[in-house]
């Protein structure tokens, strides 16, 4: 007798090592409950500014629906290159050092695939965005978590970085302003990291997608540091700054050798980023500053509202200086992140993602996205307050 066919034995071994997403599981829980106020959404609650949408509609009406260059529209690459020159005094050649991708997600994937050999170690600072560790595993690399702590304002410290570097270390991945902590790193903080990068001959993948959402002082672009332009694969995109998540548009900047290797994967897997999104991105860079700044000012107000509110409730909250997340400690309640999130959801219908979904060092914290209306934030704070009071 033949054994029944089992498709699961065909799944590649590599995927067995990928941990299931904590967010996915939480998503399923939230979907079962009605009238939830969600602080769990990692995307803007604004609609893409009308001038960008209108430009896209116009382009479709005029039949701009074909493939673009694999690298992306030259016009867009030029705009990106000019912006970096203007804002950060870093020059990138639009012809060979800019690659337009389908979201920063794709840029991250092909950046890692372009440089990681099987067995290479890649340091991933945590708590951080959920895709870094799996992306390293997909390319046969070994992810090495680097925990940051609230005591150090969730910055990477030189000592802690040195501790996890081995002779197999190929690269380090980090993200400032940071999802989920809202932490930022100043120029001097980053310079200390750059010294170690040179000393150990590493590459850096710097995900700066929250660059525009910086509330105190200016963002420092990692590639703008001395000697870092060639060593950095800089990732950025349009989702957060211009509320364009569904357009799926990002880009990577780096040395021509690296960008052309990423391009090799990109041309055979993606061919090119969606043309309509690229046209919208050109409009965003040319005429989107005022609307973007307006959204940033609104996030800034909500930031004050939620951080003040959480601290008042007794959930000690580190002051986030970028992105749109507050990351309060829930340790004082005696619950784990997971217990806190689940009970808050079931008892008060507020969704916020448990901190450990972003790495072990996120345990004891809760990610509260303030990309939600002021009314929703106020109601959520009331409910969280009631929940915490009930625990006493």
């Amino acid at each position: 007798m033949r054994t029944p066919f089992d498709p699961s034995v065909f799944v590649a071994d590599r995927l067995q090592n990928v941990p299931p997403s904590g967010i996915r599981r939480f998503f399923d829980l939230v979907s079962e409950i009605d009238d939830v106020i969600s602080l769990g959404v990692g995307e803007p609650d604004f609609i893409t500014p009308w001038h960008i949408r209108e430009t896209c509609i116009h382009s479709i009406e005029h039949g701009e629906t074909a493939y673009t260059s694999n690298y992306g529209l030259l016009e867009l690459r030029e705009e990106i290159s000019w912006m970096y020159d203007r804002k950060h005094k870093v020059e990138y050649d639009p012809a060979s050092e800019v690659l337009v991708t389908t979201g920063v997600s794709e840029a991250l994937d092909i950046a890692i695939r372009a440089i990681v050999n099987p067995g290479d170690e890649v340091i991933v600072s945590q708590p951080s965005y959920v895709a870094y560790v799996p992306s390293v595993i997909f390319s046969g690399g070994i992810p090495v978590p680097l925990s940051t702590t609230v005591e150090n304002k969730f910055k990477i410290t030189p000592d802690e970085l040195e501790d996890v570097i081995t002779d197999k270390t190929k690269a380090i991945v980090f993200n400032y302003p940071n999802n989920p902590t809202g932490a930022t790193m100043d120029r001097s903080d980053l310079e200390a990291i750059a010294d170690i990068v040179v000393e150990h001959d590493l590459m850096v993948i710097s995900d700066e997608v929250y660059e525009c959402l910086t509330y105190n002082g200016d963002h420092t672009c990692f590639a703008s540091l001395d000697g870092m332009r060639e060593r950095t694969i800089l990732l950025n995109g349009f989702s957060k700054a211009y509320a364009m998540t569904g357009f799926r548009l990002g880009y990577a900047l780096g040395a021509p050798e690296i960008i052309s290797s990423m391009m090799l994967i990109h041309q055979y897997t993606m061919l090119c980023a969606p043309v309509t999104a690229q046209i919208g991105a050109i409009e965003a860079l040319r005429n989107g500053e005022a609307e973007m700044q307006k959204m940033v000012r609104e996030y800034d107000r909500r930031r004050h509202l939620i951080v003040g509110g959480l601290n008042k409730i007794g959930l000690e909250c580190f002051e986030p200086k970028g992105a749109f997340y507050a990351f309060p400690s829930i340790e004082s309640t005696g619950l784990t992140s997971d217990e806190f999130s689940q009970r808050l959801l079931n008892e008060q219908k507020v969704a916020a993602v448990p901190g450990d979904a972003f790495g072990k060092s996120g345990e004891g914290f809760l990610r509260c996205a303030y990309a939600a209306s002021q009314d929703d934030i106020r109601t959520a704070l009331d409910r969280i307050g009631e929940f915490v009071d009930g625990l006493k």
Binding site: F26, V30, S38, N179, R297, E298, D300, R301, H304, G309
Partner: protein, 163 residues
Amino acid sequence: MDKQLSHILEILEGDARAAPKDIASLTGMSVEDVSKKIEQLEKSGIIRKYKTIIDWDLVGESYVYAVIELKVILERKYGYEKIAERLYKFPEVRSVRLLSGGYDIALTVRGKSMKEVAFFVAEKIATLEQVQSTTTHFVLKTYKEDGVILHEPEHIKRLPVSP
């Protein structure tokens, strides 16, 4: 313009009833500082007035609005000031603007009926000696007023949780 000032003005522009306490929690300023700043803004005339946008149609008080274009004869010494003053003193006149282009002044006039507006223009406006001609356009529907879209606001649909 400093950051705190633009926060205060944007908050009040969106909600004239925002209390100093609310503004303080949104800006990280103290309640006293917010109150002081608002007082200064009121005194200096940057904040002119706190206004409520009312949909009178829903109340049952339906008004008729018309945009009136005026060509006027300029007065020596006073320019447009005198005629503008005469016009804006009528309570029926809701706005007065001096414009460049084909005509000189645009008014918005509000009345209970088209007849009332038409008679107001014929009797009170057209008869002013500086007024050369008037053209009356009745407003059929208002889609957007003072930056506020009045019908079918847009909603964004998002997943309840995302990374």
